[in-house]
Structures are given as C-alpha cells and as structure tokens.
C-alpha cells in the first residue's frame, strides 16, 4: 500500500506495566536522531519501526509504505519490512564469516533491486581485508563497520541505528561517525539514529526528535532542540 507522505511517520501507543510509550512524529530528513536519556523509549520506537513489536495502537509509514496500521489491521512482518538495523552490539552471526554475514540480507532480498553494490559498501567501510574472518576475531570498531555493511546490503528502505557508537572508544567513534556521515550523504537510505549523546546529535542529525519518558518533547534541527 503506497501513499504520498513524509519519509517516516510514526504514531504509536504501547503500554507495559512499568512504562507507557505514546509518540507521534514525522521526518523527511536523511538522518533523524531520536535523542533522549536511557529508558526514555528510543529503542522501543526502533523496535516498533522494525516490526519486532506491535503497538497497541498506531500507524507507521516508511517512504510511503504502511508497515503498521492497527486500525486497518496492517502489520507487515519483520522479514518483509526491509528495514536495516544496526544493533548496539552489532549482533553479527558468530557462526558465519564476515563475508557471509554481510551477504546474509542479500541472500533473502535478491529479488529486490539492489540499490547499493557490494564493492562500493565494502570500499567505503574499509572491510575488504576482513572478509574471511569470523566476528569473534574482530575489534569493536571492525564489528560495527561490518554490521553497517550487513544492514546496508539488505537493500533497506530505511536504516535504523541503535546507539551504534556506545561501546566504542573515542578514536573509533570519530571514525564510525565519518562513515555514517558518508552513508547519510552518499547513499539514498534515510537513517533513524538513536542516541543519548549530544555530540553525535550535533554532528550527524539533520532533524532531532527529543524523547523523554515515552513522549516526544520537541522536534526540530539540532540547534533548535538542543539550543546553541
């Protein structure tokens, strides 16, 4: 079901015994940051977009594709959504090599047009020399680059990143941030980026959705939301 709308539109209500998520926001930016303290519901929003969870009420639209609409009874299963997720701790498959990991999504989505060629992604992320290795032998920064490649190669409609820099030291953070900037500017995949780090928001985000205690507090550019 296609419709003309913004790149990303999320309206969702989710109730749990100890927490209520009730959000409504839209974005047309190449990189939208969900910004807020730990436990504010940022990751829950990613899970709702990815289809890991189903909201009690809500509607989620990505690039004109209705992924969830509780009123219309629409819930596209996770594996048909074409959302690329970069998990906080990479979640590379430990039993597969780097090459098998990054080709995993391609294997299942090869009927779709491949927007991004393997060679380009491998080149940009600088993982060509790692292809035969196993995740257990990679450093933290290498793991994140492979996770990025894996998500990008599944030809996603949208790329979701859950605090991808949280586990890295400063040198690696800066390196991965440059890569994310390149992906944001060169590849035509909108990114939703979850973080609680002000520096990352200032450097990467074109639009910021500030979340607190399960609600949207404010939206706007980094300068508008964070103040200058």
């Amino acid at each position: 079901m296609k419709e003309k709308q913004s790149l990303l539109s999320v309206r969702a209500l989710q109730r749990r015994p100890d927490f209520t998520l009730d959000v409504d926001f839209e974005s047309n930016s190449a990189l939208t940051a969900l910004f807020g303290p730990s436990g504010s519901g940022k990751t829950s929003i990613l899970n709702l977009i990815a289809g890991v969870h189903r909201p009690a009420r809500g509607r989620i639209v990505v690039a004109g594709n209705v992924l969830t609409d509780t009123e219309a009874g629409i819930f596209i299963p996770m594996h048909q959504r074409r959302v690329g997720v970069v998990f906080q701790d990479a979640q590379l498959f430990p039993h597969l090599t780097v090459q098998q990991n990054i080709k995993f999504g391609q294997w299942f989505t090869r009927m779709h047009d491949q927007g991004l060629p393997l060679e380009v992604i491998v080149e940009v992320l600088g993982i060509g020399s790692l292809m035969k290795r196993r995740p257990a032998t990679l450093s933290g920064g290498e793991r994140h680059r492979v996770a990025l490649a894996r998500a990008l190669l599944s030809s996603p409609r949208i790329l979701l990143m859950d605090e991808p820099l949280a586990a890295l030291d400063d040198a690696r953070r800066s390196e991965i941030m440059s890569l994310i900037e390149r992906i944001r500017d060169e590849f035509r995949v909108p990114i939703v980026y979850v973080t609680h780090n002000v520096e990352e928001v200032r450097r990467l985000a074109l639009r910021v959705v500030r979340i607190n205690a399960g609600r949207v507090v404010s939206t706007g550019t980094a300068a508008e939301v964070l103040g200058s």
């Binding site: 990815a50 979640q91 498959f93 090599t97 090459q99 995993f104 299942f108 989505t109 998500a151």
Partner: protein, 232 residues
Amino acid sequence: MFGFSPDAWMAIELSLRVATVGTLVGLPIALVAAYALARWRFPGKIILDGILHLPLVLPPVVTGYFLLLTFGRQGLLGKELYDLFGITFSFRWTGAALACGVMGFPLMLRAIRLSFEAIDRRFETAAGTLGANPYWTFLVVTLPLALPGVLVGAILCFAKALGEFGATITFVSNIPGETQTIPSAIYTFTQVPGGESEALRLSCVSIAIAMVALILSEVLNRRIQRRIAVFE
C-alpha cells in the same frame, strides 16, 4: 575373530544398528519437541515436559511394559501400525530400537532444549530484519548455533541406547540375532557356566564403543565451533 562367538558378534552388530536407528529416528522428534518446550507457550506444557522425561526416572521395566502394552501385536498402536504399514515391533530388532530410542530420548531432548534456550534471541531478530522468515531463521541461524548441543544430545542418546537393558528385555525379550543387544548378551553370558570371559570381552567392547562415541562428539563439536559455513 578376536575370539568372539557368533552370538557375541551378532549382539555387537545389533546393538550398533539399534542405537543408530533409535537415535536417528528420535532426533527430528526431539528437535521439534525441544524447540516447542524452549520457545512456545501452550497449555499443558508442564505435563508434556513431564511425560517426555518420564523414561528417565521410571524403572526401565515399567517403560518396557508400557511399550509392550502400546506397541505389542495386540497393543493400541501396535495393531494399527501392523494393519496399516505392516510394521511389527514385538520380538523384532525394530522393537529394540524403539525401546532404546525411547529410553535415550529424554537425554537428547534435554541437551537440545538447553542449547535452544542458551541462544541469544537477538541473533534471530537480526536475521528477521535482514529478510529471513522464521523458517529460514531457524535453519540458518538457530539450528547452526544449537548444533553443538544437538550433537551432544544425539551422542548421549546413542550411548544410553547402547547400554539399555531393562526396557528392551521387557518389551522384546532376549533373542540372539534379533533382539539380543550387548547388555542382554552380557547378562546371558553371566548366567551360563564358562561364559565369564565372553561377558568380560563384551563389556570391554561396550566401553570401547562408548569412548569412541564420546571422543567423536568432542572432535566434531570443536570442528563445528570453528567453522559452520551455511552459504557463501
């Protein structure tokens, strides 16, 4: 050969066949049951869990007796299976395989279930976001990650099946060449005058087979841990 009597050779061959068939037939059932117990919520789960583990704690004679009642010629399922497929269990090696498989099943189930439960489910979520439906996710992520546990379970079941005595002798008796496995043969040799040396030699064979099985599982386990290539 090696001074074994024909009966002893038959017992060795039969034991290997019975344990192999019992394990291989039980394996797919154990995989499904272990996955269901590890992942699904359904009414009566505790009771199913209990029933599947019963052979582990019941006296083997009781298990054998129930097999006789159920799968014997006049048994509830035994009669049906014979009428429909011509399969007979009573006093046949197939019955010994069934008894050994049933006795080893809980060990296999337990090992496989534990390995399913130990898998970080976020790997499965990751596979889902990459476009793998639940069946593919099971085949290329869950099962390979659980493989060491599956292997350990199968070896345990095989070893248990090799040593099974009570249920087998109750269900299918102790017929040389048909249902006389190594343990039954050892028992028989200890009951006849001059059979001690044969009993001792067969006991050594039991130990050797069990050791080979355990070492094999360890070697395979290490190889799997090092390298499981699902696709290029």
